[in-house]
Subunit: 201 residues, 2 copies
Amino acid sequence: MVGVAGPHDDDAAEVLYASLTDSVRRLVDATIRSQADFDGVASAKAKIDAAADELSSSVIPGSFGVQLDASGNPRAWGNAVIGLRNALAPPLVVHRESDGRVWAEVTLGAAYEGPPGHVHGGICALLLDHVLGATAHKPGRPAVTGTLTLRYESGTRLGPVRAEAHVDRIAGVKTYAVGHLSTADGITVRAEAVFIHPRTA
Amino acid sequence: MVGVAGPHDDDAAEVLYASLTDSVRRLVDATIRSQADFDGVASAKAKIDAAADELSSSVIPGSFGVQLDASGNPRAWGNAVIGLRNALAPPLVVHRESDGRVWAEVTLGAAYEGPPGHVHGGICALLLDHVLGATAHKPGRPAVTGTLTLRYESGTRLGPVRAEAHVDRIAGVKTYAVGHLSTADGITVRAEAVFIHPRTA
């Protein structure tokens, strides 16, 4: 890790990696939509390979996992949905209301496409799994998905999307959550899920 | 598009973009796992920005959608699961057996992480949505997801993963599909789904 010696360095690392990953997100989008000619693509690829070589001079083995910052707060920077350093993640910023509701708003571009002009049904599932799960997560007491059921009511257009969820009920180690995805067109996907707090957690 | 004038150019474009996107996938992984110092990260970012500028000199508006190659075959190169030009896509290569079974094998690295060392539950949903959906898709007759239900039986470790599905039954415009995800640990997630052929398709 770059500079985890203190809170100040933590902030600097966060800004640095957020900026790097935003650049990679823009590159992912350009890779899909580029109409550059053969030489332009070859030249871009050479730069990308050089950048990857530079970043790969020393790497964390395996995957990022969850690391603690200097203040002991967990960082899931590699997470596929919320990861600050994961260019696959939009990334989602999850908001928690005092009444337990959880929501996130994000703009989904070309990289999240399934049917032309629309968000891939599985990406809708990915976002809803995460946001519904966030209702069950407690600090130091993670929850894993038990079941997830999605009802697709209409296509979700690429562009601004909102995901929201709340706890329906809690029974022992199980949290029952419900939620939905919506766009300017209204609700597009409804979800319900059961999350389980592993007894070993 | 680069060279869509004929089959030969189509092949060249496919090789070119596959190579470019593989480089971006490696970069996404390095961005998550890099332990390069501040100067190394800043230098890599400058190269990435230059590459994105180069690719962005001319871009397809919006998203890739589905385009036809010179032989009239559809190309979903931007698709979030199978897209040749989408660095978010592993990409999945979907195999179809003569008896209707559909399967895909893929190795999932750091970019697909949820719980430490494990595939994000929503990524499992993304892959299963696509592979179950592939049982319902017919050339020129696409299917959209109606409902998708996932039962998570155990954590899916990062690494080699197999997804498979088959049609359980067909009723009018609805195809009922079932399938599962498995690793060396056995079956980790089971799925069932209803796919609908839009009457307008």
